[in-house]
Subunit: 472 residues, 4 copies
């Protein structure tokens, strides 16, 4: 998961990008980058948070009215500034690009680029594949026009498999945005006065004063030329399979993704959970959210079940990394540094903990123990999403099916695995109805195993062998 | 406001201090410092957060079984590492010290130290005054013993006016903690196996596995000698006036201060607020907390009033500083970067916003406008503390009485000042009863004007003229 | 002036590049860069000295058996890492390149690249022009071979005017070096066992154990393929006009440039100076060199004239920048910080100071005053090169003819201008014979005004208007 | 070896200190520090060179008209900023101090301070001992006066053994300088207008415009009070034994130490060497100095012997550290990176190399080999000082007698040890006469074994066991 934000026609692109990027910092805290154009590409990429990486002195350096920006999700054992975005190529024209998504036929395209297209890829990020496929086809044209751009993006759609929401700026030609036909990752845009902005989440647009926005359609390309004229075209019919995890966990609650309010969706998921738990209402004395994400759904569930809702776990926001004393054998329980129990709300009670999802189950197990140690009489656990069972090929860092808690034990033993008195997953139906209210064009592959594209054996092996690549 | 944490008898003082200090980071993010002793004082002070300032390589540098640590609250126009704590003097014996509090006769003592005691003060922090008064009297003794220590601290109590919770380590002699007789600022300690730890808040003790603790009594000195033997004595009868703001806002909800659970206190303050608002219950459709501090009291208030409680304002945790475009006239509304409205919870509703307190009122005004702009039909404002009216001489950075909102307008005009439809302050009685449940030994001077010590004209002028000093 | 160094077939390219680059650090202290290839281009560019910029941890990062490196000369008001070399393009194949020289038709080619060749230039360094002209023509070929490489370099020779000694590495194809037909800037190479290295000066080759070397010929291209097979071809007949300033000042005394020992050349220049001064032998009591460059020629001159040679000026190597006190009006005499007189060698004597050359004359004037203030009876000045009068279009930062001392006053007034009792310039004939011993293919344009290429009005305007570009 | 510089009565102490300190940077490149006083001690200490550590922004921070500064010599395995000078104590009055020298009874005084005087020493530098002995005695006085200062320094002279040239500033009292009665290390001062400055070498004084200066006498204390009145008194009769190595190697050639010009002394040493070698004059074709120090003496020797003097070895000034390739067995010959031969001056010749001194002989051996490899027919070696045989207890980092070349082989085998055809040491008589011209009050202990003070067994053991202390 990553976040992208771009703007054109701005009075000061850097200040807009800085503001907007901070709003999607939750999508990635590993690296960040901002590029503006002012007859010259002004490029800055850095490790860490936006507010640490950029400062007042960048205002005079990153000048221009157009630019793109990116934040990257931390991924183990790779990264550093070298794999930060946006990325740049000098031919044709000079292009900078940033993306959110995952190229699933990465190795096939990498080989094709180096062997056949003679374009060298010097960092291990998916966006380099997209940028170079795009640049290769564009550089074979003598001229530039919206038609030629559409042809080029069509070739990207035809060659690049996977998910990718892309923004780019082509020097002296214009601003480009496109979203693959599956529309797995979000991309929203808005226009106000002379300014047009594109973002992974709508909050970034609001941050720079653009209150009306719509989604870039799956399979669509949008182009804003140097005279600020916008052209758009759907190049491929939508086969949308939006990642349903955006509403469960990734996106901010105050964003709107593909027309669905994230807060509302989470609230409805809490209500769906309440419906599925209504027969057990009397088993619980209090509902406690695992902060921060699960608050909305927990409150909805408590309201619907007419049970007390309490903030029984306090989150410490200053944890950072944990040191291990030399010679110390057992790893400290990191959860106890991060979450503190409010004993009065737990002690002697039958507690229902609600979280957004469970991956490996280690964290859940620690939380259950923490609550039990605080005197809870019973500890029940519910998540407002189904059991995670299948790896994701489109951008989420869940790669080995056997790591999932739900694959380690039969359903009726899972409560036992995490030490809880009972365990409830929201049904897949509940999830889709809760988020979609009738719409069903979501990717639920990680829950259901139904992938939006054919997943070849080659794609699968990529997931398992590749420890060096960084997702966008 | 600052935070202090010390440990002795530890297997690895640095690791304990690092863990404990992170737990009280909310008490100060400006500077931090850790000193350990291992035949040598290992000193590190830095600007910024504990997790940024300290790293794995400090483990091998900050060795030893005893040490003290400090975090400092950001204060405008001063500071930098030069004013960070702990502080050190080489005579007598070698002493490091850290404190939380405020010396109100600073200038008088500064002059006495330089002119009469011939001890130079090279940084503008209160703790230097305490350290040097302490050291001066101790160095006039030929020997060291617990009796001599008690005599020395008595002299500190007699000379130093104001509030100060202090921890110190005297090389090869032992660990010292004392708390002024007013007991304005908290200081808690616990002992488990060989380890004794002292902290501003009990959460730090729990973080290193010490679950049982008690308060250092107002006017008490505690000493742990090199053989790990503990001695303690109350040197002056308690005239305790604990700062009631700790329970309202400063302390973490999962801490226990002077025997009173912070979470419980806030919950009760919410209930007190509900009592005072019960006649107006039907004026509100929903209760919305201003995150993060006001959540507990808001939920209590909503529960008591049987009104819906909703998280209608989302806090962005990645704001950092805000840049102003060169030439830009109006300052951007920082609140809109920090808080985002959830429109569905606000639109068309009569909203009751609850916050912990109001100082100048600018923030409240912005929040009211934000909520109104999100479609709220009415916006009411309540705080679970009384109107702030009087400057604090004991450590809170509220210095000019005329800056307070409550001094700028008569009570019935304050709602108007912040643009709200109504405004309610919790009564002083409600506050004291809510926190104290019968106990009344709190300092409520900032609300009531009743100071725990005589405040001389000199002290007052200090507050107004002194722009260079940093509070501990 | 810059320095380049490249190596292929090395056991550890980084360590060789680090060693070799330190040897040519005198050619540039502004920025430095090293790129190695190991299936991946490992790139590091930085401001400052090689020994500061690179450290032990780069050994594990800059892996590979082939690489190129660069140091850049400080130029006022531009620069920073953005203009550091080597530079990189990803198409075709992936190429890194570094150069020493100056493109005189920069603006013409810049326009052609952006408008016609659609290659964007994102930094203001000449080498970007060469790299992109080279890459453009190479990318229009379907394959790669030595023949195709030769065709490509021919196109560079035909399009790019000025001076350029270039080294490059093309991923998976091989190492390339070429030198423009004028051969203005040096480029030497040597081969020993599997290792081939190219450098601006022969000392770098000796530093990695290559004691035998020869010059890349003007107009020649050399290619070493991935099997370490070397191919070379002179593409254009030499029109060599080597910059004679290399022997006067730029190069290290222990280097051999185009077959001529720098030390020997300087020694002979001292002897030529002696010949021209022999009638005035009795006017001087002592010969004092301006350290460091002028030592060799001064000693030769003193030996030939049978006059005492003394180190009467001591150079301080730790000067760095000079601060001006706020409010201070007059600029401190920087020369007095840098050079200290040994009074016993100056006092009461008729001193002949010898320097390599005089540009503006300010430094010379300060030195004369310093020596006179130390008690010298007379101060005579001689330089072992002729009067500088004409701007250089090939890489030396002497741009405005009217800045030259020799253009500010008639020859017989120049001594007066710098405060000396007499002034002697070496004759142009003396210079050419002293360096060349019969060979005459040098560029002496800055002394004689005879440029090796037609200098168009456009080239001249470039020199005068261009304040943003950085020379390689 | 270290360097100290202090100034009082300055318009801007920082700018003077910065200028003056750069002049004595050759005395130490490990750490540097500047402290000024302006009602507040402004302290900055850092690793590395003065020009790197201090910048323009320090002008506004290090304000005041008085201050002291220090540079420290690199010493293996210790150091860092923690051991940098000047050092500070807050009692009595506030004192900063810097020194150059060596306390030989360090351990005895360390124990006395901690056990008896109750003053803690938190870093391993000699100056802490001096500062604390001084402060302890001064703090026992109720008042401050010149008489009391004299008494205090007398106590320092009586307790502290070894060498120490000291400068200090006592807040609101005045500037202090004193030099131990042995006067081992230099200390010079000058006064012009309102400014008084003290330095290890006279060049610093000249750098700030003070051209007339004299030495602080051995055993003398000088005090400049807050009204800029100077008082001075010799407290103990001089037993001067000035370190003769200052003239051989340590000091800059343009300094005057204890009334003797360094340049002149080195020139005379070269002449003395010529006298001792005159019978062998015909054995040599050329004299080559080992740069940079040996140039003066070599030239003098060559002139006296009427032999050609040539710069046959070129020094590279950009070496920094040398990396070893992982797995590489033999250490690279560092000498070949640092010195380059000029073959034409060496090849076929009988070369006489002249250096200042020989410690372990490894460097000399490498240089001899380098010259021989460059084609020299014979390589002879001479040094203008006697054979080093005895450890130094006063500040030079030569500690183990058995490390000296001259103790590893009989005199007639030493040429063989370093691979030379012959080897000549200047006689002790030649050294003393060359430097002193009749004066004999030098310490020549490292050559002669005659120490200026009784060296106890305890002092000796200190030298051998102490690997953690840093010399001033």
């Amino acid at each position: 998961m990553c976040g992208i934000f771009g703007v054109t026609g701005s009075k000061n692109a850097f200040i807009d990008l800085y503001k907007g990027l901070k709003m999607i910092q939750h999508r990635g805290q590993d690296t960040c980058g901002i590029v503006t154009y002012d007859n010259h590409f002004n490029i800055k990429r850095a490790e860490g948070l936006v507010t640490t990486a950029f400062g007042e002195n960048d205002i005079s350096r990153l000048t221009g009215s157009v630019g793109i920006a990116h934040v990257r999700y931390p991924t183990i054992g790779k990264g550093g500034v070298e794999n930060a975005q946006p990325v740049y190529t000098n031919t044709p024209y000079g292009i900078v690009m940033a993306h959110n998504g995952n190229v699933s036929n990465y190795f096939q395209l990498h080989e094709r680029l180096q062997k056949k297209y003679h374009r060298y890829i010097n960092s291990d990020v998916d966006v380099q594949i997209i940028l170079n496929i795009f640049s290769y086809h564009l550089s074979r044209q003598q001229n530039f026009s919206f038609e030629i751009l559409c042809d080029t993006v069509k070739k990207v759609f035809s060659e690049v498999k996977g998910s990718y929401s892309v923004i780019a700026y082509i020097a002296e030609r214009g601003f480009v945005a496109f979203r693959d036909p599956i529309g797995f990752r979000p991309l929203v845009f808005g226009r106000k006065d002379d300014v047009t902005a594109f973002s992974s989440e709508s909050v970034s647009l609001e941050a720079i004063g653009i209150d009306e926005y719509e989604d870039v359609k799956p399979g669509e390309v949008i182009f804003i030329d140097e005279k600020n004229k916008m052209m758009r075209r759907v190049l491929e019919e939508s086969r949308q399979r939006a990642c349903i995890f955006e509403w469960v966990y990734f996106a901010r609650p105050d964003s709107v993704i593909d027309g669905i309010d994230v807060y509302n969706a989470r609230y409805r998921l809490g209500e769906k959970l309440a419906e599925e738990l209504k027969n057990r209402r009397n088993d619980f004395d209090v509902i406690i959210p695992v902060p921060d994400t699960a608050r909305t759904a927990s409150l909805a569930c408590a309201t619907k079940l007419n049970l007390p809702y309490r903030e029984g776990l306090i989150k410490n926001r200053y944890i950072g990394r944990t040191f291990i004393m030399p010679g110390q054998k057992k790893r400290m329980d990191a959860i106890r540094e991060k979450l503190h129990p409010i004993k009065i709300e737990l002690s002697g009670k039958r507690v229902l903990l609600i979280d957004d999802s469970i991956v490996r189950g280690n964290t859940s197990k620690s939380i259950v123990k923490l609550v039990r140690d605080s005197g809870a009489k019973e500890v029940h656990f519910a998540v407002y999403s189904p059991a995670l069972k299948f790896p994701c090929f489109y951008g989420i860092d869940i790669q080995h099916a056997d790591e999932f808690l739900a694959n380690r034990a039969p359903l009726d033993r899972i409560a036992n695995e995490i030490g809880a008195d009972s365990m409830h997953y929201l049904s897949l139906e509940g999830l889709v109805n809760g988020v979609g209210m009738g719409r069903k064009n979501f990717c639920t592959a990680c829950f259901s195993g139904k992938y939006p594209q054919n997943v070849t054996k080659d794609d699968k092996s990529k997931i398992h062998c590749d420890r060096k690549r960084a997702d966008g």
